[in-house]
């Protein structure tokens, strides 16, 4: 591309724009105010002909920067696709004519709105350039899988089957994990009528036969540094030797650990050898070696057994698990069927409250259990009394009575706990503690934390963040493989409790995401949700004060610090949300096509009418993922928006720089509305913490207003959802009313 920049504007007159607006004036605005070197009109810019017009100018006139004044940037994306040039869109359709009533009295303000959006788009264009991959990336196809249980083995096999070399690291001396030592597994294929053969031995064979998979037994990760596409992982073996692997992306399948049943004194686990957990029963079944399962206490053949569901689960009692471990009802059915298979006439009773055997396979297996004469009782067990035989006291919910049963063995259906590393934010809490007491508290949490699994050399801690109950899950419903550490994907029971089949499905998905991360890192492309984005933050070292806000606030732990405390960006860890940019107090962080300057220029190029014109200006900074689409939909629905509003979409509210607010106020804006996503525990921010960070920063905006001697009502931040089609415009209109009430800003000149 030529170094010479050439700016061209295009004004569409279709969709009623030509009728509602003075296109000639828009053109003039683009060239005179917006400094476009050329500006053309077209009656339908998105048509093949219109698009060709632009393409020809790019090819023949060496246009490098294109300003399109037409519809919303969310519309006609495929038509207006010129990857080789920088482009901005002035939203005259959804942003102006669809939200303003058509009448003579409104004509002036409607035209002003359109002119402003053109000025803004031109100003933005002037301060941006089209990003392109740095070309420094190389493709590293090696996939690292941490954990050799069924999840990890599946991830390894599936990634290898797609042609990717795999390193499989397992802490213990053999592959197979917890499930490897089990007698049988929950059936995975129709008709789901009996426990199925354990798939682990076959998988171990497959891995041993696959020369694309390198197995590292008795090994852990001593150190993981770098980023997707260029991880350097030091694998340490028990014997003390170590080797460094070059890795493209990582699947963490560190599995689960059984709940400690000694926390359930009422069920006498520690008092009687004949009270076992579901996990412990598997060993008894294996030890039976095809014969009847024997009592641990006296070796007698078991003739009756009682399963207590949800032992220490689904309970808010101290030391219990609040969640349901997904599979434990299916596990008990499977284990009850062991007794039917091995112990002949053995009575088996399952005491449950809600029998949670979902899906087609689940319900089939429940029926199969009943068919096999497993007795299901809706009953809540309260106590197990040890003795020669065990007595289980329970409340029969159907027969509505307190009762008891006697049996040879009690199986406690206890839950699964994640085998995750320490929560990185527990470490940060220590680092960030403001006083000694807080620090001591955070320290205690940290000291009880489990050992690290990944040993990431990241500014923000060694491991994947926890979501809840210690699981390394994402909080997304639509995007379950969202991770807060790009290129590292948790899979299996470390993410949530799950059965073997679900773990295998999950591992396959995680393997795909790892492969995808490695491939995209090789091209310099961003991961979800700005998939394919080539823009990337850089900072001006001269201006940086090493304050560390960016390294602390990045929701993805993408930024490290060098020895002097300067930020070190890691392109392939970055998700391009701009939270670092919003965090930077000295405005030195920017993307090629999105920066403090690109937005500031838009703010500054809105014409602020003189005070006596009585035309306020309201700046709206709207998250482009939810609030902006809500406003677009409002426009479709014909909802009116106040003519004083000027909306600027932002990548995430987390990218909003406080300086925009200050500068807007200094420039004479009368009100500022910020719209971001929900930010509580059920957050909807696509960048996890962006919206929350923005809210925290803006809580300090009061000081700025104070200094300027302005009313606090002039700046407001709202949580807006994509469905707020009526509400989002209303919030803007409310600000117009507020301004009307408190008067125009004194900062107009």
């Amino acid at each position: 591309m030529a170094d010479e920049k050439k700016f061209a504007g295009y004004v569409c007159t279709g969709c009623g724009l030509g009728e509602r607006l003075d296109a000639g004036q828009l053109e003039t605005t683009a060239t005179r105010d917006g400094k476009m070197q050329s500006c053309k009109q077209h009656e339908m810019l998105c048509s093949a002909e219109g698009v060709q017009l632009i393409k020809d100018d790019i090819a023949n006139e060496s246009v490098t920067h294109v300003m399109i004044a037409a519809c919303s940037k969310r519309a006609k994306v495929e038509a207006f696709n010129f990857p080789e040039v920088a482009m901005t869109r002035a939203n005259l359709r959804e942003g102006v004519i669809w939200v303003r009533p058509e009448s003579d009295e409104n004509q002036e303000t409607t035209q002003e709105m359109a002119d402003d959006y053109i000025r803004m788009a031109c100003a933005e264009l002037k301060s941006m350039s089209q990003p392109s991959a740095s070309g420094e990336q190389t493709l590293n196809k090696n996939i690292l899988v941490v954990g050799g249980g069924i999840t990890g083995m599946t991830a390894a096999i599936e990634a290898a089957a797609a042609g990717y070399p795999v390193h499989l690291v397992e802490k213990s001396g053999k592959l197979g994990g917890a499930l490897g030592s089990y007698y049988k597994v929950i059936p995975t294929r129709s008709p789901y009528d009996a426990p199925a053969e354990n798939p682990v031995p076959g998988m171990i064979e497959a891995i041993e036969a696959d020369d694309r998979i390198t197995v590292h037994l008795n090994s852990t990760l001593a150190k993981t540094e770098g980023a997707p596409g260029r991880f350097n992982v030091e694998v340490a073996t028990e014997s003390g030797s170590s080797e460094t692997l070059s890795i493209g992306a990582i699947v963490q399948a560190s599995g689960w650990k059984p709940y400690d049943a000694s926390q359930l004194p009422e069920f006498a686990h520690d008092k009687s050898a004949d009270v076992v957990t579901n996990h412990e029963l598997e060993a008894l079944a294996v030890a039976a070696n095809g014969g009847p399962i024997k009592r641990p206490s006296d070796g007698k053949e078991i003739k009756s057994v009682c399963f207590i569901q949800n032992a220490g689960q689904c309970s808010d009692k101290e030391g219990h698990l609040s969640y349901f471990s997904g599979v434990t009802d299916l596990v008990s059915i499977k284990q009850a069927m062991y007794f039917k298979e091995l112990n002949g006439d053995c009575d088996t009773t399952i005491l449950f409250d809600n029998l949670r055997t979902p899906g087609a396979g689940g319900e089939d297996f429940y029926r199969a259990g009943q068919q096999a004469m497993v007795t299901f009782s809706k009953g809540i067990a309260s106590e197990v009394m040890p003795g020669d035989s065990l007595t289980v006291k329970f409340e029969d919910k159907i027969l509505n009575e307190q009762t008891e049963m006697v049996c040879d063995l009690v199986v406690l259906a206890t839950g699964m706990e994640p085998n995750s590393g320490p929560d990185p934010y527990a470490q940060l809490m220590v680092d960030e503690a403001e006083d000694e007491e807080e620090k001591a508290k955070a320290q205690a949490i940290l000291e009880n934390a489990p050992p690290s699994i990944l040993n990431l050399q990241y500014r923000q801690g060694t491991d994947l963040p926890h979501l809840k109950n210690g699981f390394n899950d994402s909080h997304f419903i639509c995007f379950p493989y969202e991770t807060r550490r790009t290129g590292i994907y948790a899979a299996g029971p470390v993410r949530r409790p799950m059965d073997a089949q679900q773990a295998r499905d999950d591992a396959t998905g995680a393997a795909l995401k790892a492969i995808q991360a490695a491939e995209n890192a090789g091209l310099g492309r961003a991961a979800h949700p700005r998939s394919g984005d080539l823009s990337f933050p850089s900072f001006r070292k001269e201006g940086c004060t090493q304050c560390k806000r960016c390294t602390v606030e990045c929701p993805f732990g993408a930024i490290n610090e060098d020895e002097e405390g300067y930020p070190m960006y890691n392109e392939s860890r970055c998700r391009r949300c701009g939270t670092c940019m919003g965090a930077c107090p000295v405005r030195v962080i920017s993307f090629e096509n999105y920066s403090v300057e690109t937005v500031n220029q838009q703010i500054k190029n809105v014409e602020i009418p003189e005070e006596w014109d009585e035309k306020p200006r309201i700046l709206v900074l709207a998250c482009e993922n939810d609030a902006y689409p809500a406003l677009d939909q409002a426009a479709q629905a014909g909802v009116e928006i106040n003519p004083w509003a000027r909306v600027i979409p932002v990548r995430c509210l987390g990218s909003v720089s406080l300086s925009w607010v200050t500068d807007a106020l200094n420039n004479g804006y009368d009100g500022i509305v910020m719209m971001g996503c929900r930010r509580d525990d059920d957050y909807q921010c696509h960048f996890v913490r962006g919206s929350a960070m923005a809210a925290e920063r803006m809580s300090k905006v009061g000081d700025t207003l104070d200094t300027l001697n302005l009313e606090p009502e002039r700046v407001i931040l709202h949580e807006v959802a994509i469905t707020d089609v009526e509400r989002a415009p209303q919030l803007i209109n409310d600000m117009a009313e507020t301004v009307e009430k408190i008067g125009l800003s004194p900062f107009k000149f």
Binding site: C71, K76, A159, S190, N354, K397, A507, I515
Partner: protein, 424 residues
């Protein structure tokens, strides 16, 4: 003529709901060529018709926006709407698909300005809203529909309305001569993501869905609760528009029942718990259930709803519903099995938590594939290069469907990578 450039390294995704879209996008973002075939005029499938997701109570369109943006930006992905796969021949690494494309009567010039809809007069039941309310004969299925192009109802073709639409369009987007077309193209692997449909509540005779106005289905309730839906989010009775003050949810309406669907539909418990949060706190809510199947973290949500004062749970499969002719209230008859209590409870509105049924019936698959008793696709090696994604494989919630679809993308990639390796 619709043009598709495809080779044996192309992945064909059948169905553009959340699972199909996910599989297609994940494969495309891994650098693979993908053709997505969707029966409806837009992608997103059934989740576009949901108001909220459990357990976060967030909005499906939020994720849809991201997925649609991913689709718009990705040159590897070719989406064909209003199209159905009628035949797939061949084997893993070498399939030929036949696709029938119905005419939309609106070409790519469409700017979604809406002029055609204003001009057209005929109205039809609005399928997007499960026939609650009407839409025009020229319509955008919903505001966020992608592709953002209107559709002409085939019923208006040949009428004055069609001419009116054509005349109203300033961008020459109305093409009344558009014909059904059939195209063939190659694919190396197929991801089958045709999803689910709600079980037909008319078949559950004792619940009177076909004869009692105030008995509705859970999917209809979603549309009713949506502020952007046909009632503007007001929960009002179909019979008389009265504000709803008591709602009953009937679980397993069609599920876990050998007379209907043998399987548990997995999502209905959580969906009803979610829907129990839609009405205001002064609305009495009764949930009639057999087992509440709240899996892992959903337990928290179950406890939260259970703790609400206006919500009660009755362990009972409702036996029958009789309409009180005087006030239109459905009366529920049955037995609370926890201690044997008979009830005859009147409610303003009854919501049937209808089950999930595979949307393609066993006999209609255009490709040889192993189907289980419940009609879901089995993960069988005999399926060759055809992989199920999402609810075509089991009754799944969104999170699990997406997880499953991501795995399916890898399975398809394994096949096309093998093709690439052998073809050099």
């Amino acid at each position: 003529m619709t043009e598709v450039i495809a080779t044996n390294e192309t992945i064909l995704v059948v169905g553009g709901g959340i699972s199909g879209m996910t599989a297609a996008l994940e494969a495309a973002e891994t650098g693979k060529q993908v053709v997505l075939v969707e029966k409806r005029p837009y992608v997103g499938g059934r989740v576009t018709q949901l108001f909220k997701y459990f357990p976060k109570l967030c909005f499906p369109t939020c994720g849809l926006e991201i997925n649609q943006r991913r689709a718009k930006m990705n040159p590897n992905l070719n989406i064909i709407t209003m199209a159905e796969v009628t035949d797939i021949k061949g084997e893993a690494g070498n399939y030929t698909a036949t696709v029938k494309i119905s005419p939309r009567y609106i070409n790519e010039n469409c700017t979604a300005c809406g002029d055609c809809a204003k001009a057209v007069e005929t109205e039809f039941d609005d399928e997007f809203n499960y026939n609650i309310g009407k839409r025009k004969g020229a319509y955008l299925p919903h505001r966020m529909a992608h592709p953002q192009r209107y559709v002409l109802d085939p019923a208006i073709i040949g009428t004055d309305d069609a001419q009116k639409a054509k005349e109203a369009c300033k961008v020459n987007a109305v093409d009344l001569d558009m014909q059904e077309e059939t195209i063939e193209f190659k694919a190396g692997a197929v991801i089958w993501a045709t999803g689910w449909k709600p079980y037909d509540a008319n078949k559950i005779q004792p619940y009177g869905y076909d004869r009692i106005a105030n008995v509705i289905t859970s999917v209809e309730f979603e549309r009713m609760a949506d502020p952007n839906g046909p009632t503007g989010g007001k929960l009002q009775r179909p019979s008389d528009g009265k504000e709803v003050k008591s709602v009953a949810f009937i679980q397993c309406a069609g599920s876990r029942d050998k007379n209907h669907l043998l399987h548990c539909s997995r999502i209905c418990c959580m969906a009803s718990l979610k829907q129990a949060t839609y009405p205001a706190d002064d609305v009495d809510i009764s949930i009639y259930y057999i087992d509440i199947r709240a899996i892992d973290r959903f337990e928290d949500f179950y406890q939260t709803v259970k703790a609400k004062e206006n919500v009660k749970f009755i362990k009972s499969k409702v036996a029958s519903i009789v309409e009180n002719k005087e006030n239109g209230n459905p009366t529920l008859h049955g037995v609370d099995t926890e201690g044997y209590k008979r009830y005859a409870d009147e409610h303003d509105l009854v919501v049937l938590a209808v089950g999930m049924e595979p949307s393609v019936d066993k006999e209609s698959f255009p490709v040889e594939i192993v189907i289980n008793e419940e009609g879901f696709i089995e993960p069988a090696p005999e399926n060759g290069g055809v992989f199920a994604a999402g609810c075509s494989s089991d009754a799944l919630d969104v999170n699990r469907a997406v997880q499953h679809a991501t795995g399916a993308a890898l399975r398809a990639i394994q096949v096309v990578n093998r093709v690439a390796a052998t073809e050099g």
